[in-house]
Structure formats: C-alpha cells, structure tokens
Amino acid sequence: MDYSENFGKMEKGFDLDQAAAEAGRCLLCHEPPCSKGCPAQTDPGAFVRKLRLRNLTGAVRTIKENNILGGACAVLCPTARLCEKECSACGIDRPIRIGKIQRFLVEHSWRTGFRVFEGNAAGKAAAGKGKIAVVGAGPAGLSCAAELAKQGRAVTVFEARPEPGGVLRYGVPAFRCGPDFLKKELADMRALGVEFKCATPMTGKGAAEKLLQDGYRAVFLAIGLWNPVRLKERQKSIKGLFTSLDFLAALRRGEFKAVGGFFEGQACAVMGGGSVAMDCARSALRLGARDVYLLYRRSWSQMPAEEDERLAALREGAHFVLLNQPVGYLADKKGGLKGIKLVRTRLGGKDSSGRRKPVEIKGTDWVIEVQAAIEALGYKPDEDAPSWYPAVASDKNRLILAEEKDCRTSRPGIFAGGDIIRGPDLVVRAVRDGKTAARSILEYLGQEKP
C-alpha cells in the first residue's frame, strides 16, 4: 500500500490562470468586507486586489506580513464562514474563492523564490533589548514570535515536541497540510531570526514562570490542548483503540505500518462529530480500512465539523452512524478491540451550546463490530498544567484566564493565547491571539522601567 501517495498529496491548488481568473471576479470593494471577516486580519481585500493589478509580490507580502501562517490558514480555514461569507459577490452569485487564491499566492512565492522576510536579521540585531520567551510552537506561538521578531525583538520559542508546528504538524493529517508545505511556511520564521528550542517542554512546577527569573522579559503561553477527552476517564488499554491525538501524531511520524495494521481491510469506527473526527475517518480510509463508521450522538446538522469536511468524509466512503451514543468497548481474550457498545438517541431540547441535546432511548443497546476505533472527542488541558504556572489563574476547566483583547493573564509579564485560553478553536484565531499578545507584550515592555 502506497501510504505516501495516500497521505502526502494535498488537494491540488490553483495555478496562476485560475487564480487570476478568480481574482478577476473580485468586486474590489470599498472597505472590503472579506478583510473584516478574517480573524487574523490577513486582509484578503488587499491581496486579491494586488493580484488583480498584477502586483503578485505585493500580494504575498500582504499575506505574510499580516499572517505568518498565511499558507496554513489558506488550506485549513473554514473560509465559507469567515472571509468568503462576507464577500459582496455573494449578492450576485457566489463568493470569490479567497482561500484558494491565498494558497496560490503563498505557493507561488515558494515556486518563484520570492521571500518577504529575506535578509531580515531583526532577531539577531535586537539581542540587546532583552529576550522574550514563547512557550509552544503552534499557531499562536509562531504568530506571536514572528510579530515580535518583526518589531526587532529577540524571541526564543520553547517546544515540547521534536519539531515546531504544533497542531499543524502533529494534529492535522498530512493530506491537509503536508510536511513539505509546513517546512516552506516555517522558513519565514527562521528568516526572521526566531530561535527555536525544540524537545524542551516547559513542564514541571513553576517552569513557565521560571523563564522570567532566567532573564526573559515576558512570556507568552501558547501551549495548546494536548490531553484528549476520553469516553471513559480510566480507560484500560485495548489493542486497536486510539485517541485522535495518538492516531494522527503516529501517522505524521510516518508510522503507517504499525498503525495501519489495525485498520487495513478491517471495520473500524471513529467517535465524534468535529473536524478532528473527520480527519481521523479520512485517515482511516487512507489506511485501507474496509468500513469506517463515524459514530455521533447527535445528527448531521449538529456536527461541529465544517460542512465541506463532513462531505469529504462522506464522499471518501465513511458511513455516518448518527444518533448513537457510544457507551463502552468489547475486547477479545487477547485484549484486542471487538466492538463498541452503542445506545440509540433522539434529539431533545436545546443545550447550552444551542444545539439539540441527544437523549438516550432505553432498551436500544446494540453493538457494532469493529477491530479498530479512534476516540475524537475533543482536547483539554493537561491535568497538571496549572502547576507549570502557579501564579497564572485558570478556570475550573484548567483553561488560562486571559482576555482575547489583550491576552494578559493574572500575572504581569505572562501572556497567554490560543486554545489554552478558549478551548479547541480555529488556527486563524490562534494566529490572531499571537498578534494580539505581541502587541500587548510590546506595550508591557514599553511601560517597564529600564
């Protein structure tokens, strides 16, 4: 089985002709509403206009200066409910395909060798000004580090895993954001002079706060959520049962054979209705699973996954088993997964999220026979995360208390953003947090006594 073919290839992007034709549809609005629709202020109104006026280098510059992860956002953003939703062309027929144009422009710069940050030695030059520590090299951390480096600040990014990227590298399948794509995207971080210390977790009591004592003038906590929510808190290990975190990370590490053995030719299940569940289902299909059942306790329209992701999973062959609540597992004598116990549900009244709540229907227990399963039920902070930064206040769900408007925490000098302040959310919002935090940090350092 050719795993690299199945996983390595991203969907084809636009070429110049397609991008130019699409930009030709742009209405070049006054006060472009698409630009207001981008959480990270990537400013599609400007870069599409620049493409239209044949200023391609300028278009790339707009993207990359506003959003250091402009390539990743282009392929991962649910544009249909962000920039493209606001597009004035919707009033005529359909929106400009902004995400596709954005990806083209970023890839075009890679193909032509045009570099926005080439030769920028800001990071090195500013070493005397006092370093800033960023904890976590995911979207929020990278965005903050880039913003600070552009302002001439020296930044060190501490990353627990062997490589930077966070969810982009370990949480999203390669067919959506491939390793080569990410490598090219992150080359800008190096050009900006950002220093990376990978495989350097800031865990342990007070570790994050200790950075301040070590001479870092400010700390940005962008540690993300890496603790999977489980169906049962104390789930005994069963062969063939994965968390989405372990499953997707193993595939990103290239462990296709070890993981694939559980899936190839087998019936398997994915539990959950979010984007990660769709990624897992599509990955399982690419591993050669005979049948992939998506088990979800509510119905199609309540699924948090984007519609195009749901349709992609459906098109690629996943079976959507809706209105069924997984309640437990069956294992064989050797400790291998044999099946999942389910109870049928119906939809009751609305819950706090505004979605109709699933109500179990008594006496409808049944078992779906599967040899492999993935729990894609969401992520939460690590159990002991708050002990890494005792002076930083967290809520009862262990999410750090910080406002989106300034990313300040209860401890002056420590800032936080990304999923650790909000719970699971979009990459582009993490990018926005990174930019917000950078502004706050610069403001904070400006007020600091020399």
Partner: protein, 414 residues
C-alpha cells in the same frame, strides 16, 4: 518590507518621488481630489485643462461610456469630456494651494487657448500661481473650433506658434501634449520643440466609437439622441501609446523627455512606457476603473521588479527596450520555428484545430477518438494563434527548428 530601490526620476529638471502622475482629466479636477491622490502615492499631477473664462464650455450629459469586452469591464472608455468646468480663479487658487502644501510633488498646469493671447494669458496666470511646469493641450479631441484642441495638434505650424507664444511669457518647462489622431507624431513634436517645448506627453485619447445603440442607432454616449466620434482611452489603446512614445524616443532630432499616457493601470504598463523611453507616465482610465489606490500597486510592483533584478534606480529603465526595436526588415528570417505542443496537459477542447485550419497553416489534424490535435510540423506557419486560444497556459510554446528546416508549400487547388 519592500527592498530599498529608488523610484525617483528627474523630469524637466524637477526631481519626482516616482514617475506616476495623474493625467489631465476628471481625476485631476480639484486640489481636494488631487491631495487624496498624493496621499495615496502619486508623484504628481497634470491638472485638468484650464481655459480662459471668456467663453463657457458646458459639459454634455452623459459624458462617458464604457467599452466592455466580454466579461472584462472597461477595456476602453469613451468620453466627451471638455476642459475644466470650474472657473479659472478657483483652479489657480487650487494650484497655488497644492504647490504650497505638496512642494515635492509635480504640479503641472494644463492649459488650452483659443488664440495667441489666451495662450499667453493662461501661461502667465499659471506661472504666477506657482505651477512647476505647463502642459500645453494641443490634443483635446472634442474641440470643434479650428485652432483649438487636437485641430492644433494636427496643424503643425499652430503647435509651433502657440508654443512659442507661451515660451515668450514664461520660463517654466513646457510639455506639449500630442494627439494620436495623426499619422506621424514626430512632426508636431518637432514643431513644438522649435516653438520652445521642453518635453512631449502622449497620447491624448484616440478618436473612436465604443458602441452604437442597436435600438436607437445612436453612438454612445447618447447625448439626448446625438452621438459623436470622440475620445477613446484605456487598456485597449496602450499599444498605440507605446508606439508613439517609442517613435519619438527613437527620433535623433527630437531628443526631448517624454511622458507616456494611454492605458496605464498596473506597474507593468508603467514599466513598458519607461522601457520605450518615457520618463514619467500619466493615468486616468485606470483610476476611473479602480481609484487612486492603483498607485500603491504600481509603486510596490515596480519596486519589487527592480529589487528582483538588481536595478537600483527607475531612471535606469528609461529607454531600455529601444535598442531592441527595429524595422521588420532587420529580422533574421533564416531562423524559423513552429508551435510546439505539450499534449500531456491538453484538455481536448480543439480550439487550436479550428483556428489553425481556418486562419493558420492547416497544420493540425484532429484525433476525434482521443480528442487531441496532431501536428504536421512542416505545415506550421509559427503564427502562434493556436497558443492564443489554448486555455492551458504554456501548453503551446514557440520552438525554433534547426537551420535548413523547410516549411512545405501551401496546397494549390487550381
């Protein structure tokens, strides 16, 4: 983080921030508008043409009409615009204001007289108002009075006479604006030089008809049942503008700085004008289509182009295409080639087959089964029309053939 390159150029002794100017038109109608353009990045202005207050020149209504080509809007623009419809005094006050408020920007007053005296009066008034230079409008296509507008530009002795008149009353640099509605622009340009002009700007609009109403048979714009042959501008006229600028730049007797006008929308258009010999470029239709903001992309695009090619100063680009411009007689016709096909990317539309058969060398056969063209190489004329209609960029590209390669004779039926 645009790399540092120098976009400044020196035009008639004045150093400009960049070569990008507003041309004399509705986009340069008042100081209020012009200073917004300067704030956006334009390097200067040719102010909307001034006439004496002696006669009033009211505007027809409506004034303009678009030429849309397929789904591409405003490929051309038709107008029956007249000279400024504001009084002379407010315009002079605006010029004085601009000069004071924006000293680094080029403030060029455009004037048009109907007699020697008027030319002299307007020139003096604009000099007194503080204009950096004067553009002499010998080219408005809508004047019906003999001895005005492009009627002057078509009568070379009048060009010389009026230029000399202006020359005698002001020491400001004089830029003579030429009409393209003639066969050879060098003649009026030389006449202007003899009269004392310091530079030439070209082209004013091309006289044309953009559309005729199919219900009323009235050429557009339809001014209450009447149409007119009038000024046509925009991307569609750029090839004509480039030609006239190049011809003047190549003329060894003329040797005057040039300001290129006609279809400038993007940095590429501007660059092409520089390459054929213009020191500055002027724009109107591009602004009518997109607004003053296009200059941001002209500045950024040209800067990146220069940085990418290691060109430090925009002035270095002026005339760079001229050494490569020849009469067709100079071509080496021994070297021949064909249209080369990369059929792996072919989508099977067959347009190449249709045009080659009907307008080319009939060098393609059509494989109906596979939906692919098959070329008989020695019938290909290398006209390249197949590549113009091919929807896949770069699929069809010119390929030179070895020396001695021969094209076969066209079939004779008689």
């Amino acid at each position: 983080m645009t790399k540092k390159v120098d976009l400044s150029v020196t035009f008639c002794g004045k150093k400009l921030l960049n070569p990008f100017l507003l041309s004399s038109s509705p986009v340069s109608n008042s100081a209020q508008m012009i200073e917004r353009a300067f704030a956006a990045g334009w390097g200067g202005v040719a102010y909307k043409s001034l006439v004496s207050d002696r006669i009033s020149i009211p505007h027809p209504s409506p004034r303009m009409h678009p030429y849309h080509c397929g789904d591409r809007r405003l490929v051309g623009l038709q107008n029956v615009e007249q000279t400024s419809d504001r009084g002379l005094k407010p315009n002079l006050l605006d010029i004085a204001y601009l000069k004071k408020r924006w000293p680094r920007h080029l403030i060029m007053a455009s004037i048009m007289g109907f007699s020697n005296q008027e030319w002299a009066d307007l020139a003096k008034a604009c000099s007194d108002a503080g204009a950096d230079m004067l553009e002499l409008n010998f080219s408005c296509p809508h004047m019906t009075v003999e001895g005005s507008g492009c009627k002057v530009g078509q009568a070379h002795e009048l060009v010389e006479k009026f230029t000399a008149t202006v020359r005698s009353v002001t020491s400001l640099p004089l830029v003579a604006k030429m009409t393209p509605n003639i066969a050879d622009m060098n003649e009026p340009a030389l006449a202007a030089k003899r009269g004392g002009a310091d530079a030439i700007s070209a082209i004013n609009t091309v006289r044309g008809i953009s559309e005729i109403g199919l219900d009323d048979w009235v050429a557009r714009p339809n001014v209450f049942g009447k149409g007119a042959i009038s000024g046509y501008s925009g991307p569609a006229v750029k090839p004509v503008g480039l030609r006239f600028i190049a011809e003047m730049a190549l003329n060894p007797e003329l040797k005057l700085p040039l300001s290129g006008i006609g279809g400038v929308e993007t940095w590429i258009d501007a660059l092409e004008y520089l390459l054929v010999g213009a020191t500055t470029v002027q724009a109107t239709t591009g602004i009518i289509h997109y607004g003053y903001r296009i200059v941001e992309d002209m500045i950024e695009g040209l800067s990146d182009y220069m940085a990418g090619r290691g060109i430090g100063s925009a002035a270095e680009l002026v005339g760079k295409a001229l050494p490569h411009l020849h009469d067709t007689g100079a071509f080496d016709v021994k070297r021949q080639g064909v249209a080369g096909y990369d059929l792996d990317r072919c989508v099977g539309c067959g347009q190449c087959y249709i045009v080659c058969r009907d307008a080319g060398g009939d060098a393609l056969e059509w494989d109906a089964e596979k939906r692919r063209p098959r070329q008989t190489q020695d019938k290909c004329l290398s006209c390249m029309i197949c590549s113009f209609v091919c929807p896949v960029s770069g699929l069809i590209a010119y390929r030179e053939m070895p020396a001695g390669w021969k094209r076969r004779e066209t079939v004779t039926l008689g």
